[in-house]
Symmetry: C2
Subunit: 329 residues, 2 copies
């Protein structure tokens, strides 16, 4: 069965031969993905003004980045979502303050390029941070492209986080991970399921993707990752087979774009503003869970994989910045 992780079963072009070949794309709780969304020059900016200013100070890096990070339909979809978030959340998102050498980075031989943007939530808002990233990495069989948007909420609410990850292993094959990421033990809290997943009819979005004949369920090899998602999570491989480049692009721009937008709307309408009275113990318990999920996902994803693609100093910088965003320095 062809899956994107196969690309990483062969080591990336520039990585030293690993002792054990770990899997990148399938370790997908998924905050490893360095890289903001690659913009055509004419496209509207994805980040706030500060970000652009920061980036303007590194024109050479941006030039090289444009050259190497390919324009892909899935990145345009992510870009549209990002624009929607910024329009809706507005001043509740602070400008980015990610250092230039983390905002865009590459490995020494140029086989991998990435970018990362983190915007913290404004004081008093329910937003903890919004993280956008993009990664393009050459592998012996071609390249892998990963684009992520994570919007995590803080302790003023128990509402789920938003999580999107698109892992494109070839022009015909992609893994989609899209979820309103739960913050409570669902078996212990049926009312949480009802409030955020049943009443919002999120399962219809999942069904809408899964009814496509090109999709099959995607199962992370990490049991922890599998355990962390909601019961309506979209976890699928879209495999359009040989010659299916146009089919994949149509699905991405059509059904996938529509479903991702639908899930985001649900999150914006039902989660992003849900400040909530909670008992102290309940809040502590939620924060403890949040912290373990964040730590574990960084351990599973980043520390295992990023150093295989980027030089140690680069991966350390990127990991440090993501740790900072996650509040688990």
């Amino acid at each position: 069965m062809l899956r994107p992780d196969h690309y990483f079963r062969s080591p990336p072009a520039t990585a030293p031969a690993p002792r054990s070949v770990s899997v990148l794309a399938v370790r997908t709780l998924s905050h490893l993905r360095p890289g903001t969304l690659p913009l055509p020059r004419a496209a509207p900016p994805l980040r706030g003004k500060t970000s652009n200013t920061v980036r303007a100070s590194a024109p050479a890096a941006r030039e090289a980045d444009s050259a190497r990070m390919p324009a892909l339909a899935h990145r345009e979809v992510a870009q549209d979502l990002s624009a929607e978030v910024e329009a809706r959340l507005g001043t509740r998102l602070l400008p980015s303050a990610v250092p230039v050498d983390v905002a865009e980075f590459r490995n020494g031989t140029g086989s991998a390029v990435g970018s990362l943007d983190v915007r913290r939530g404004a004081p008093g808002s329910s937003i903890d941070f919004m993280l956008q990233s993009s990664l393009h990495c050459k592998v012996p069989t071609g390249a892998i492209d990963i684009t992520s948007i994570l919007i995590f909420l803080n302790a003023s609410t128990d509402a789920p986080h938003f999580l999107l990850e698109l892992i494109q292993g070839s022009p015909t094959l992609m893994v989609v991970v899209l979820d309103l990421f739960p913050r409570k033990d669902l078996a212990l809290h049926p009312e949480y399921i009802e409030k955020y997943y049943e009443n919002t009819q999120l399962d219809k979005q999942r069904e809408s993707i899964e009814e496509l004949p090109q999709t099959r369920p995607y199962r992370s090899p990490s049991l922890f990752v599998r355990s962390a998602f909601s019961p309506t999570a979209i976890l699928v491989t879209i495999d359009c087979g040989q010659g299916g480049e146009d089919v994949l692009e149509d699905i991405v721009r059509g059904r996938l774009a529509s479903v991702a937008k639908g899930v985001l709307q649900t999150w914006l309408n039902s989660c992003a503003d849900q400040a909530l009275e909670m008992e102290e113990g309940e809040r502590d318990s939620m924060l403890r869970r949040d912290r373990i999920v964040r730590l574990k996902s960084i351990e599973v994803d980043l520390t295992a994989n990023l150093p295989r693609m980027f030089d140690p100093d680069v991966s350390s910088r990127v990991i440090a910045e993501i740790r900072k965003a996650f509040g688990v320095e």
Copy 2:
């Protein structure tokens, strides 16, 4: 997509037309299944001596039961598993004390027949109860047959429960639900995942079933049910298509039997004896979770569905007995 729940989208032959047609087989946390495993007369007993004695007092009922509960390969598989459990747990299982009219029951028109057996764990053991049930119910398109084995542990351990449910919707189609059912919030307890699911390599059993071309993932329509299973749970539909009666039987007697035995062995070796020191708060939290899962599964399954198949007095008796076993009277 043909699924067993379709059989119940039409009301059972004898049930009053329901206002809302609820789904039986897919509401599968699944303790609704009245009925012990139907035994050919020559087969070794499934229950302890007391059970047989109880049953011997109702020869007429047994006669009718034998006539109506068809012998099926999946029931033989369950019977073998049950025999293995009884051999291994031995005196840790008390004899059954289920009343005769719950041990075997039927509806007034004879379109549905079921049986239930519950054996409590002996004092000082880690076993809470072992529940075996079988149900045969005629529906307009044929019949549905459900066989279950649940072995729940008590608060002396946090080890997972054992849960098997086989829902046969036709001679060519079956849903398999097989899990070591977790008792902790897995996202909060990665060490629990490691201990009971990773180190035991349970995922290989799941893969062994899912690699069959006749299987596809089974997804319960209940989001709560989906949330309650472990990440290595086997939740599949085996669909052998028109004319595939022999294929299904071969799979059931071959791969399914082997996998179910493997999972049971893991449970017997790694869970059934795992008495564990726990802090009081930890134990309380686990018991609270256990209780909600039990209550919710009874609500989802039994109270919604059993009265649709059996006369009210019968379903009430059966539900009461299961509530007693579950400790949620």
